[in-house]
């Protein structure tokens, strides 16, 4: 376990090595958020509420989803590059699990970006607009759990597609398409509240809703106690299901590698 914590810590340090990246990350996150806030401010105009959703709620939604999605962005070509240049064999000979190591590194990077990109960008945003305060103090830790589960869902979807590089020469295109799908269907472009009713129904049966939307609703206090527990259970269910699928692809892929030599 300590070795994996160390992986996360090292990746965190690794990120610290680049000062320009650090400042650009803040600017990038702040601009993405502010652009959306401007658009929605204009769209709202003088209207207090649209579909029962007020502007501060939308603003809060975007700060959380865009801030997190920027923070949760990492190099998704890692596995493909390792397979292509053959250094994947190096990884297999390390006395640690490759999957957990990758997860630890990505979490380390995510933690770095949340602390050094998201939080400063959040402060900048607060200068510009008012956001909804957390509904209760208890809500915050529950929301953090939900964010963590959302992250795992996002990570597992990405990992599953990354494992396809055992069979495909390039997964870049698929990853790009996936990212578009995730940003639309998880509500980071258009909040799911404003999606047509049937689409919302369909999305509630997919993992996308669980990525950012569930944490946002918990933060805003849209869910009752029982609904919150149910939402967390749904997230956990998706994590478990995606774990099984990811493991299946990984096993098949590594088997192909040791039999056919990649």
């Amino acid at each position: 376990m300590r070795a994996y914590v160390e992986f996360a810590v090292k990746k965190f340090q690794d990120k610290m090595a680049y000062r320009l990246d650090f400042f650009m990350g803040i600017v990038n996150t702040a601009i993405t958020i502010l652009v959306y806030l401007c658009i929605y401010k204009a769209l709202y105009g003088d209207a207090g509420e649209v579909d029962g959703i007020s502007y501060p709620m939308v603003a809060t939604h975007f700060v959380i989803t865009l801030g997190l999605s920027n923070a949760f962005h990492y190099n998704e070509m890692f596995l493909q590059d390792k397979i292509r240049d053959g250094t994947i064999t190096n990884e297999f000979l390390k006395p640690v699990s490759f999957i957990l190591r990758l997860l630890a590194e990505n979490i380390g990077e995510g933690a770095f970006k949340i602390i050094f990109h998201f939080i400063p960008a959040l402060l900048i945003t607060l200068l510009y607009t008012k956001l909804c305060p957390p509904v209760s103090l208890l809500g915050l830790p529950v929301m953090f759990c939900s964010v963590a589960l959302g992250y795992l869902i996002l990570w597992l979807i990405s990992f599953i597609i990354q494992t396809w590089s055992f069979w495909l020469f390039s997964v870049w295109g698929i990853i790009t398409i996936k990212n578009v799908f995730v940003s639309i269907l998880s509500g980071s472009l258009l909040p799911l509240w404003f999606m047509p009713e049937p689409l919302q129904k369909i999305l509630s049966f997919t993992p996308f809703e669980s990525i950012y939307f569930t944490p946002v609703r918990i933060y805003l206090g849209e869910l009752s106690g029982r609904e919150t527990v149910f939402a967390l259970a749904v997230q956990a269910m998706w994590v478990a299901l995606l774990c099984v699928i990811a493991n299946m692809f990984w096993k098949k892929g590594t088997k192909k590698l040791i039999v056919q030599g990649g």
């Binding site: 300590r2 070795a3 160390e6 992986f7 090292k10 340090q13 690794d14 090595a17 680049y18 053959g86 250094t87 064999t89 190096n90 297999f92 000979l93 390390k94 006395p95 640690v96 699990s97 590698l257 040791i258 039999v259 056919q260 030599g261």
Partner: protein, 307 residues
Amino acid sequence: MIVLKNVCKTLSGREVLKNISLHIAENELVGIIGQNGAGKTTLLNTITGILKPDSGFIRTLEKENPAAEKRVLQNLVYLSGNRSQLWEDLKIKDSIDHCIEMYRLDPSTAKKRLDELEEIFEIRSFRNSPPCHLSLGERMRCELVYGLLPQPRLLILDEVMNGLDFSFKHKIMEYFKDYGNKEHTTILYASNQLSEVEQLCRRIILIHQGSVLFDGRTAQIIALFSPCYRIEAVFSGNFPDFEDLPLEKYRLEGDLLTVDYDIHKIETVQILRHLMEKCCIRNIRILKPNLEETIQKIYGGANGKYN
């Protein structure tokens, strides 16, 4: 330590390993040589369990599938001259700290050992630099420390002298010579620098087109495949008569006489005695064939042309 029995492996339609059987004992230091594409790396990958043989049997570190068990991998280090283990953007000391965590080394023992290794490989001064600020040879020395720190039972070294200058090569070679017995480590040393292998390894395995062409003592392969020695003598006086000696060939250029002979047919002393009797020798040099010449000869033979 390592057992391979009738191992065959075909990769993308090419038979890379053909019926290879090997036995490598504990604490042995074995050189693995072969031309490009002979199957060296495939063989090493098969030994580590990263590649599964199509048929045949492997057993490394008492396991048939060593790469599948993390506990076994703590005793196996594969260092390669062209695949870095170090973290690209981190300081060397952070990479090494991480190695200590990953291999679950005891901190105080690891610290002591690191001190020793830093001394031998002279890397202490670049502790605080990331690998990208170091030269190839400096980086390689750090890689070696990184790989030696966990004291693995099986150490695979693949072209690890890349970029090292002469004095370091020499120093590191001396270090490895009795490393196996001192640290209870089996070393597989793959390299294209035959002079290194000749100096370092008592046993060599020569891979050619996927098969083991030779497996045995280094001295033996030389004696077996290139028994020709050469005497170069600077002499004055009359040209001696060699008619009655079983020599391969002899040549005279100015006052330099070159004699090639097969040590199985005639002993060196006999020729020397003959020379001393027949003419006045001012200077003499006896040349032993080295591994490189021998291997060249073998390939010449194997490819159907003698040089």
